[in-house]
């Protein structure tokens, strides 16, 4: 018998494959294509306190082996989610991780309280890539002190496991990981998208209405694997690795680099069954390589003495 179950900040997952926030909606769109209980956990689109309309179109641009998105955190707001969506989500026998964001530390704190009170949520993923309105729009996640403050506020307002989702748009992602763990994060998710831009040479303007967008997909995978590798050496908490995972073998790179779990993002947009395919790919690798427990792989690429 092969074991694919992993533990993530106290939650037991039947396998290490999650969905990346924002690429899997609130789950039900994908339930038509495969049985969601095949997943390790479901991570839903980031929620904010108030509903947000997000950015004007175009919000997406294709890039070589990747894509830019500038959805701008469109979401129906916390209250609507709790009232209309959460009850529906409970039907899926799969752990539920809710991603939260805010434009102020207070908003993060409030979101943590609301979501904890809502019940039937297994963990909070804190999207600290959100711009801090008070600090002139600089993303919380790019400044260690600000990142730590957000996580501390969330930590104080929930007894759920807290996962800090880190942005790669920093000089030292391992340094940020260290401070968010000190501030109380039980796990870290990485990476969020890399800031990028595509210009339409006919219109001579950026393709995206928002000008810049977040780069995701296979193009960023080497950046993401490197980030996981570096953070694994810096902190003891589990890592959820993501960035360009298209198939099982990509997920295994992340696990070998140190990820306890992985999340499938852009691949869901290309192929609605991608997350399930990744689960299967990992299972096949374990079988064909005679590995009885997926946990053996976590961080294995670091070797012994390093």
């Amino acid at each position: 018998m092969i074991n694919t179950a992993v533990e993530l900040a106290g939650i037991k997952l039947k396998n290490p494959v999650l969905t990346a926030s924002g690429t899997f909606g609130y789950g039900h769109e994908y339930a038509k294509y495969f049985d969601l209980s095949r997943l390790g956990a479901l991570v839903v689109k980031t929620l904010t306190l108030e509903p947000r309309k997000g950015n004007p179109p175009p919000r997406i641009a294709e890039t070589p082996c990747g894509m830019l998105n500038a959805v701008g955190l469109e979401n129906p707001g916390a209250a609507y989610f709790v009232r209309e969506i959460l009850p529906d989500l409970k039907q899926y026998p799969v752990p539920l991780i809710v991603s939260i964001a805010g434009c102020s530390v207070d908003e993060y704190a409030t979101m943590a309280r609301l979501m904890t009170a809502a019940g039937s949520i297994d963990a909070l993923e804190v999207n600290i890539s959100c711009p801090n309105v008070k600090a002139g729009g600089i993303a919380f996640g790019t400044v260690p002190e600000m990142a730590a403050e957000v996580i501390r506020a969330v930590r104080l307002n929930t007894d759920l496991p807290v996962i800090a989702k880190l942005t790669p748009n920093v000089t030292d992602i391992a340094g940020i990981a260290v401070v968010v763990v000190e501030a109380g994060a039980d796990a870290v998710s990485l990476i969020n998208t890399v800031t990028g831009m595509v210009i339409d040479i006919e219109r001579r303007r950026p393709v995206l209405a928002n000008q810049v967008g977040g780069l995701s997909g296979p193009a960023v995978r080497p950046i993401a694997v490197r980030a996981v590798w570096q953070v694994y050496r810096a902190v003891k908490v589990p890592i959820i690795g993501m960035g360009g995972i298209m198939e099982g073998r990509d997920a295994l790179e992340f696990m070998l680099a140190g990820a306890q779990a992985v999340a499938v993002g852009t691949a869901n947009l290309v192929n609605p069954t991608a997350a399930d395919d990744v689960v299967r790919g990992i299972e096949e690798y374990l079988e064909s390589h005679g590995i009885s427990d997926v946990n053996e792989l976590v961080g294995a690429a670091h070797g012994k003495g390093e």
């Binding site: 919000r59 070589p64 990747g66 298209m246 290309v270």
Partner: protein
């Protein structure tokens, strides 16, 4: 319900300069496809290009389980599509989106298309004809030599317009249609085409209080309503008077009066 199918290609032929007809076998899709719905295609086996490409369904042959699309070379993806050969496979997700719906009591409909927008209207034409609705087709092209409704709907009542006057009416298809509003009466119209054309038509419909449906285009990610990348503005009761809808899942077909034109 929609499906992911590795469909066998039966045809992939040039039908006009830069324009191809692709046909593939996909019983999962022919089973339920409706006019106005689209399919989302992978253009090759590698990660470049990464995203699928949306193409409207031009028609289905239910007995033969064939789906037909008409595409135009625009960039990387469509250029790669031209290399697909009969006997090979194309990965298709579909049918997707909400198609056209005929309002109760409508007896006479206008189909108005710009360029390759004619493709989904071919499918609609067949369905309307089956239901005994009187249909007149207005089709605008850049110039003669492009794919025209004359060829695609040979037995239909078709009026052509061209930007350069080389075929039929000299001018925009919306202008041509406007000239006809006085002459004939339509209970309803269905329109597809580039965004500026649909916007012009939207204004016209408002002036003349003409009910109709338009099929919008936007760059897409998932095509199934999950990623929120394909937004367009539609009317809403909130303070701004509008909200974002998803072209892929709430559309691509919208009632003309609900669209907030950019």
């Amino acid at each position: 319900m929609s499906f992911i199918v590795d469909a066998e290609i039966t045809h992939n032929r040039k039908v006009a300069e830069g324009c191809y007809n692709l046909t593939f076998r996909a019983p999962e899709i022919t089973g339920s496809a409706q006019p106005g719905q689209f399919v989302h295609l992978r253009c090759g086996p590698t990660l470049d290009p990464l995203l699928r490409r949306p193409l409207g369904i031009q028609g289905v042959k239910r007995e033969q389980e064939l789906v037909q699309v008409l595409y135009q070379i625009v960039g990387k993806g469509t250029r790669l599509l031209t290399a697909f050969e009969p006997g090979g496979r194309v990965n298709v997700l579909g049918p997707l989106g909400r198609g056209f719906t005929l309002p109760a009591g409508a007896r006479r409909a206008a189909l108005i298309a710009g360029g390759l927008g004619i493709a989904p209207l071919c499918f609609l034409y067949e369905e309307l004809a089956e239901q005994g609705i009187a249909v007149e087709v207005f089709h605008g092209v850049r110039s003669a030599g492009q794919v025209s409704a004359h060829d695609l709907i040979p037995d239909g009542r078709v009026l052509m317009a061209s930007d350069d006057g080389s075929l039929g009416y000299h001018g925009s298809v919306v202008k041509m249609f406007e000239d006809h509003i006085g002459l004939e009466t339509f209970d309803f119209f269905f329109a597809t085409g580039p965004s500026p054309m649909l916007r012009a038509l939207g204004k016209l419909a408002e002036q003349h209080n003409l009910p109709g449906q338009v099929s919008l285009e936007e760059r897409m990610g998932c095509g199934i309503g999950a990623c929120l990348c394909c937004n367009c503005r539609t009317k809403d009761k909130d303070e701004d008077g509008w909200r974002y809808s998803r072209v892929c899942a709430d559309g691509p077909v919208f009632p003309v009066e609900e669209v907030v034109w950019p």
